[in-house]
């Protein structure tokens, strides 16, 4: 079914193969010389694009890299997690299991709130590292860290329990590789306050039929208004 082709005219330089081939060879030669020179540069990072990975770990990993999970402690060393189970619900791969525990008297220095997670299990073999758990977490307790070397020999090792998660946190803290606190994304302000602070963007425009004017208080972080929004969502789904 191929239709006849519009013949492309070859120029003379194209017709005799050698000219373009020589040009190409000049190009590869330039790269060759550059890289040979570069590879004699002092260690560890020689040729610009190659990282001698296991030895050369100087490559900067993004501070918000979505790697190995950890359970954070607050500044007093108490567990942040309140075992609300939002992470488990949000997880697309259903790899998180949380069991609730109630704080007893005298455990205030261990757990930050009244509820804590008695167990917290993550199956790394299921996890897809989407980062939804850390986004959903109201306390910023579960966080994906910068650790990316996750290969293990057994299935059991790929199973993260609470102790491992806390250990991950301690290790990251020691190395100073904690994830910076999440920056809340500015959300469109509710219509009742028409174009209050927001300048000439169109975000304040009316005409969002689905999102009825359920006001969140000013510029709230999404996750903090979880319960409210849930209510709002339910109400909205009626229309």
């Amino acid at each position: 079914m191929a239709k006849p082709v519009v013949k492309k005219e070859y120029t003379l330089g194209e017709r005799i193969y050698l000219l373009e081939i020589l040009k190409g060879m000049a190009l590869t030669w330039r790269h060759f010389v550059f890289n040979v020179k570069a590879s004699f540069r002092p260690e560890p990072h020689t040729v610009p694009t190659c990282w001698q990975y296991p030895e050369d770990r100087t490559r900067e990993i993004s501070p918000i890299f979505r790697g190995l999970h950890m359970l954070c402690l607050d500044e007093k060393g108490r567990e942040k997690c309140i075992a609300c189970g939002t992470c488990a619900k949000t997880c697309p791969a259903h790899c998180i299991t949380v069991k609730k525990g109630k704080r007893k008297e005298g455990e205030e220095d261990k757990y930050a709130s009244k509820m804590y997670c008695a167990s917290f299990d993550i199956d790394l073999l299921h996890c897809i590292f989407c980062g939804f758990c850390q986004e959903a977490c109201p306390k910023e307790a579960i966080v994906l860290g910068r650790e990316f070397e996750l290969a293990q020999y057994t299935r059991e090792e790929c199973h993260l329990d609470k102790q491992k998660l806390l250990a991950n946190y301690r290790k990251a803290k020691e190395e100073g590789k904690l994830r910076p606190p999440r920056k809340a994304v500015p959300v469109v302000k509710p219509p009742p306050k028409p174009e209050a602070g927001a300048p000439k963007t169109t975000e304040g425009k009316a005409g969002k039929p689905a999102v009825a004017g359920k006001a969140k208080k000013g510029q709230v972080e999404v996750k903090k208004a979880a319960e409210k929004a849930k209510g709002a969502g339910k109400a909205e789904s009626g229309d």
């Binding site: 590869t28 040729v47 001698q52």
Partner: protein
């Protein structure tokens, strides 16, 4: 008796030397490619990864030999042998230096100076196609047989321009002996050019280069093993040292062909305008000529690598088209011109 010993020493020496070059070539190929592609290449085994070929060799030797269920056993095992052997045997007539005087005895740096060296190389070189086509057939794999067929067609087609280009050289030098051709390239030509084959046969040189790229199955003529089309061509089913023989034979082939270029077109061990042998003793001149020769060879070896990592590969019919429609007419033309000049000069 003495002649025998010397011959055997020469054989062993040159055999080991070519093996060494071929081994190093695998390293050069990979590192060179890497450097052209902004990578580093193998750099783990030894300094600069120089022991990488060794590691590869050990790996190939220790791997399990797998014989496909329906493969033809005899042809299957014959294939790699027939491919590697001619590559080595072709070196028998290749000069690799001028001569060396040891213990008052003059030794030519060539295993045997037969006066039909030329024909020998052509004959032996064509034998390599058997290894490929038998391996491809014996594997009982459609990709292998395709690779084998492509290779057969390609090698046979490119034998013709190769032979014609060589014929022109024979016209010019009037001899079939490679050593005589090498010796004839001393001095200058037309008073200012080095008396090298390339200046006497510029067109022939280009034709010859293209033809040997096809003979050696190198990019842009690496159709028989074009990995993106027919997996690995004729050696798809091979593993272990049988595969090693194929890969290695290819590099030995490269060395042979590069040496041939140097002997025929690049003045063998001569340096233009200077007759180095006058300044050196008979022993040191032998060594120096040997080194000069392989310096030139290494340039052509490098050229193989360089070209390979620069350009894409042809399609099967385009290769045939280039061979029959462009190279053979040009080679005939070249032959004609050469003959004309010789006639005029005489």
């Amino acid at each position: 008796m003495e002649g025998w010993v010397i011959a055997i020493i020469k054989v062993v020496f040159i055999w080991a030397w070519v093996l060494l070059i071929a081994t190093v070539m695998t390293w050069v190929e990979r590192r060179g490619a890497a450097m052209m592609q902004d990578r580093l290449g193998p750099n783990r085994a030894g300094p600069f990864g120089l022991f990488q070929p060794l590691a590869d060799g050990i790996k190939l030797f220790t791997k399990e030999e797998v014989l496909p269920k329906k493969a033809h056993k005899v042809l299957w095992s014959l294939g790699p042998l027939l491919f590697a052997l001619p590559a080595f045997s072709a070196y028998a007539v290749m000069p690799f230096g001028d001569k060396i005087v040891l213990g008052g005895k003059e030794i030519i740096l060539q295993v045997s100076n037969v006066n039909i060296g030329f024909l020998y190389i052509l004959a032996i070189g064509s034998l390599a196609v058997y290894g490929i086509v038998l391996g491809g057939w014996g594997s009982n794999n459609k990709f292998s047989i395709l690779g084998g067929l492509r290779s057969t067609a390609q090698l046979i087609s490119y034998e013709v321009p190769l032979g014609l280009a060589l014929l022109a050289i024979v016209f010019v030098y009037g001899t079939f002996s490679l050593r005589d051709i090498a010796l004839a390239q001393q001095g200058t030509f037309l008073g200012f050019l080095p008396n090298w084959g390339i200046f006497k046969q510029p067109l022939g040189f280009i034709l010859f280069m293209v033809a040997i790229y096809a003979e050696a199955n190198r990019v842009p003529f690496d159709l028989p093993e074009a990995e993106s089309e027919i997996v690995a061509g004729y050696h798809t089913e091979y593993g272990s040292m049988e595969l090693g023989l194929y890969l290695f034979g290819e590099y030995v082939n490269l060395v042979t062909l590069s040496s041939l270029i140097v002997v025929l077109y690049f003045g063998a061990w001569h340096i233009p305008y200077i007759d180095v042998s006058k300044f050196l003793g008979p022993v040191s001149w032998g060594i120096v000529s040997f080194l000069i020769f392989y310096l030139k060879v290494s340039f052509f070896l490098w050229l193989f690598v360089w070209v390979r990592w620069t350009i894409p590969r042809f399609r099967y019919d385009q290769v045939m088209g280039l061979g029959w429609k462009a190279l053979i007419p040009l080679a005939l033309f070249n032959l004609f011109i050469t003959a004309l000049f010789i006639q005029l000069a005489a």
